[in-house]
Amino acid sequence: MESLTCASSHLPPRLLEGANALPTVKVSYQAVQSALRKSLRGERLSFEDGVNLYHSPDLVELGAVANEINLRKNGRDVYFNVNRHINPTNICALSCKFCAFSRKPNEEGAYAYSDDEIAHRAKMAADSGATEIHMVGGLHPRWKLSNYTNIIRTVKQAAPHVHVKAFTAVELDWLARKERKSVAEVIGELRDAGLGSFPGGGAEIFTPYVRELICDTKLTGDGWLDIHRTAHKMGLRSNCTMLYGHIEDVPARVDHMLRLRGLQDETAGFNVFIPLAYQPENNELGINRHTYGADDLKTVAVARLLLDNFRHIKSYWIMTGERVAQTALHFGANDLDGTVVEEKIANMAGSKGGMAMAKSNLLRVIRDADRVPVERSTVYEPIRRYDNPSEDSLV
């Protein structure tokens, strides 16, 4: 690798200047080597290190170091959980350019589930062995906080033992502003209704020059982090994500991860980091390619090395396909997203991963990667370790 200067030449210059600018990084293979050595010594990586790692031509080297760090933290255990997604509505006041899911209230295909529909889905989830319901949706212009608390109560009534992980920071912010309440008050009411933790959606890319281009009407990056900070301080844990593979550049990805690392230092409230590969279909962003396989693996590996205060990095097979997601278990990931039923948001954007994976199949995918499957709760407590392969067929 020659020494070259990393700059984001495909983005409009006005966005890259002034207060929003990220430092220009000189990348070289020596710098990659030194970053990898720092990681192996357990030292914290810098912004420059992260950018350099992303530019490393040796994918397998990066993966081997990330795998080593992961093995030190988690051994050969790979977590999964059995969950069910419910997307209560696709009606949304926002218009994010990368989204293929949202509809305006009178648009064709717009929907909002009734209480009965939600209860039915929750009950089916519990009956099928799910320990978690993951619920996110659009910003419905007519829904109030009481609608949201009602949804949670409905779920909890239909499935009392299931953990409800619901609503992104974007939805919380919307509710707080609508109700003229503080975010803490909104979170408090949702928690009282039975909410257990928050998913990590809506983070996209925090870096302003990217966020302005892909979702300028959405909650800002700082706003997203503030809401998760509030939740963590109230004792609720949450996940976090990064949507990559659209118009963002490498420095923005690194910047995004470092902002998450900063908050994790402060609160230790994140369960897991989930990189989400951009899905190109049916949206307005005009980027019509899937991410590259090498990029998917690099992103997992760089995340494992940069996010030294995270124990868990998730490989999300719905977004990358089962094969890449499985390979990522050797590139630093220790969690394979669960048996997901009804995931409409990625599906409508053309993800080829499919909709659901049976538990027995998930066990096989993990075992074929020479790892040991461990079923976990939403907050990563082990529920059952599948030590014995011969029992897989019984599940």
Partner: protein
């Protein structure tokens, strides 16, 4: 170098490779920087943490980390396999099988990349532009894993006319293609005269590489034409056949072949025909189709048989791995629990193939059966070639897989994996290089 110097004995790249095998100096060996030996690396520091922690060393982090992992390997057979592979020695079947069963994916990737660099030190990854022309789908064999064949009377059974074939070739040349891969069913109505006439009339009209027929087709032609295989090959070559694709090898293990295909079961016949082709100065590729009920030991058996044959006749210039595509096939219907080959298993088999095939220069990654993502990743597990931008591929798509890549996407895919894309011809001569363009 004239890219159309199609006689392989006159082809300098091919000659060079043959000579280097004979002299035991593989291409690239002269310019290849020997990395420090395992012992050298390990003797510097016995304790793993210290090896890893030290920042004063000049070796790559990768070498240190992987050497340490090999050093701490408990299983003696696995360790000996790692060490043999590291030293570039010849792996036994037993060692290969242990690598496949118990090798660490990170270590395999590292070793396979080193093995690849012995053949291809320049960091180039090649691709071909050619067109598959499936001239007939009528076949009397009927393999369980095939969704393409027809028996003859069906309404969609066909034999392409010469005009249709010419048109396809013209389109191929217009799209920058340099070759055609002609394969079809084993059609009992087509005798050698059909092929001689077809090949001659193609060669009279077009400068295009004819990579055509498979073992089973050649045997079929010999049979219906009452010729020996050697006579058939000689006549086909005289008529313009340039090389033979190594299809139909599937898994060269009689135990497995019997389950998959009642007629293709004799694996020694596949090897024999290929060797006769080599002796007739027709170079060939060799393939392996896995993920269809075989065990890992059968994969190793397959690799060993091809490696042994290559030692004798030196005519295989590439090894191509395919995974079984299940949709619409009898084999999948009879075995509903069969699962598509996973990413990790594919990369593992690919890496072990690169390590074991010490006498075949090129290994293809299969984006066609594994998808572009794993296809790209395969370049880090021993593959140095992305195969063809196939302008037409009926057989695989009949079994439900349909990925497409154009030249631009192929170049980008290779570049984004950290390599320099090059377009090659069927013999692996480099025709064009696409070095990194400055950022737009």
């Amino acid at each position: 170098m004239n890219p159309y110097s199609l006689n392989c004995s006159n082809n300098p790249v091919w000659r060079g490779f043959e000579q280097s095998i004979a002299q035991n100096t593989l291409p690239g060996a002269a310019g290849f920087q020997e990395a420090p030996t395992l012992e050298e690396i390990n003797s510097r520091d016995g304790e793993r943490q210290k090896i890893i922690a030290s920042s004063a060393r000049e070796t790559k982090v990768h070498d240190e980390l992987m050497s340490a992992r090999i050093a701490e390997t408990q299983d003696p057979l696995l360790k000996s396999a790692y060490e043999t592979a590291f030293a570039g020695g010849r792996l036994s079947g037993e060692q290969g099988l242990r690598l496949l069963d118990a090798g660490d994916l990170n270590v395999l990737g590292w070793l396979a990349t080193r093995a690849k660099e012995r053949f291809h030190p320049q960091g180039k990854v090649s691709f071909l532009i050619d067109r598959n022309i499936n001239y007939t789908n009528v076949c009397r064999i009927g393999c369980d894993f095939c969704a393409f064949y027809r028996r003859g009377p069906e309404s969609d059974a066909y034999v392409l006319s010469k005009e249709d074939i010419f048109k396809k070739i013209e389109e191929t040349i217009e799209l920058g293609g340099t070759g055609t891969l002609m394969q079809g069913g084993v059609n009992p109505h087509l005798k050698i005269e059909y092929y001689e006439d077809l090949f001659r009339s193609i060669k009279q009209r077009y400068k295009i590489h004819l990579h055509a027929l498979s073992v089973i087709e050649i045997e079929g032609i010999a049979q219906v034409s009452r010729l020996t295989v050697a006579e058939t090959l000689e006549r086909l070559k005289a008529a313009g056949l340039d090389s033979i694709p190594g299809a139909g090898a599937e898994i060269l293990s009689d135990e497995i072949r019997l389950e998959q295909s009642p007629v293709k079961r004799h694996s020694h016949r596949w090897i024999k025909v290929m060797q006769e082709a080599h002796q007739a100065n027709l170079p060939t590729t060799a393939t392996m189709m896995f993920g269809a009920l075989e065990e890992r030991k059968h994969i190793i058996e397959h690799i060993l048989r091809i490696r042994d044959a290559q030692d004798e006749t030196k005519g295989f210039y590439a090894f191509i791995l395919w995974t079984f595509q299940g949709e619409n096939t009898e084999l999948a219907k009879k075995n509903p629990d069969m699962q598509p080959t996973g990413g990790v298993e594919y990369l593992r088999v690919l890496a072990v193939s690169r390590l074991m095939m010490d006498n075949i220069p090129n290994i293809q990654g299969s984006w066609v059966t594994m998808g572009p993502k794993i296809g790209q990743i395969s370049l880090h597990y021993g593959a140095n070639d992305m195969g063809s931008i196939m302008i037409e591929e009926n057989v695989v798509s009949a079994a439900g897989t349909s990925y497409t890549l154009d030249r631009k996407n192929m170049i980008e895919l290779i570049r984004r994996s950290g390599f320099t894309p090059v377009q090659r011809d069927t013999y692996y001569n480099i025709l064009a290089e696409y070095p990194e363009t400055p950022a737009q």
